[in-house]
Amino acid sequence: MPLPSDADLVARARDGDHAAFQRLVERYADQVADVVIGMLGAGPEADDVGQETFIRLYEALDQFRGEASVGTYLTRIAINRALKASRRRTAWYRRFLPSAEAPEPASDGRGDYEAQERSELVRRVLQQIDEKHRTVVVLRILEGYSTRETAALLDIPEGTVMSRLSRALDKLEPLLAPFLTADEMQVE
């Protein structure tokens, strides 16, 4: 039996079928997690923003006309919510912990990384660059959107995406370099 399409699930959810909406949540939870956790790091705050993302979709089901895919629509909501949460967090740190420093990477030397550890490392490194650069890296590299799509999602020119991406990579390079093996540097 073929899986129901997103459009089917959206239509059923719009008619009040909660099970259909829950399937949409299950289908896109990891994609939203990639964006939100990439932006905020793992934890209750990211979980909360993830939930809000889907609740926003639910509230907007009547307006959702399918011009963008459900995934893209959710990514747009997730990135906006994550940016708001990130700004709230920054404001809080500035107000209450003005001398607090950004967290350091998990390890300062090379190690034997499993996938989970690499993910954690990437998250920690991403937290060390400012949000406008982080946003572009999350969308452009982690999520795999093209420069044009990233520009559309963030409502900025493509040239700005390119310059932010380049600046982000400049900042990330020294942070990631200790964790890249010689073999990885020879990737074709």
Partner: protein, 137 residues
């Protein structure tokens, strides 16, 4: 951002036109520095793309719980009144029975009721004698 770096990023992006991409690939074969830069970008991209994330177990259930509507003000009031009514009802019934027993046993002696129903409710019989008696009180 150097022009080379910008082009390399566009090459990664797949957004270079065919002719420029061909020229850049040709340069990559001979230019050691450009090739090193390309390898660094590729390695970083590969490392970043290894990032996978997922929410804690039960995420969809948590979302659905938040979507369940909280009882509205009217519904809450109705539930509170229902709770109150059940308790008042029992007390009121007990009081009615108590008063009825009292009326039947006590008032029958004082003022003769003309029927059991009047006695039950403590009503005196509708006789001229009773009317005069109550008027005198």
């Amino acid at each position: 951002m150097t022009p080379d770096r910008a082009q390399l990023i566009r090459l990664m992006d797949g957004s270079l036109d065919d002719a420029t991409a061909r020229r850049l690939r040709s340069r990559l074969e001979h230019d050691i520095d450009l090739r090193a830069e390309w390898n660094r970008l590729q390695a970083m991209q590969s490392m970043l793309q290894s990032h996978t994330a997922s929410f804690e177990d039960g995420f969809s259930r948590r979302v659905m719980q938040r979507l369940r509507p909280a009882p509205g003000a009217d519904e809450s009031l109705a539930e509170a009144l229902q709770w109150l009514f059940v308790r008042v009802e029992v007390a009121a019934l007990a009081l009615i029975v108590l008063l009825a027993v009292y009326n039947v046993t006590a008032m029958n002696d004082a003022v003769a009721a003309s029927s059991f129903l009047e006695a039950l409710f403590g009503l005196p019989g509708t006789t001229l004698e009773n009317v005069l008696l109550f008027a005198a009180l």
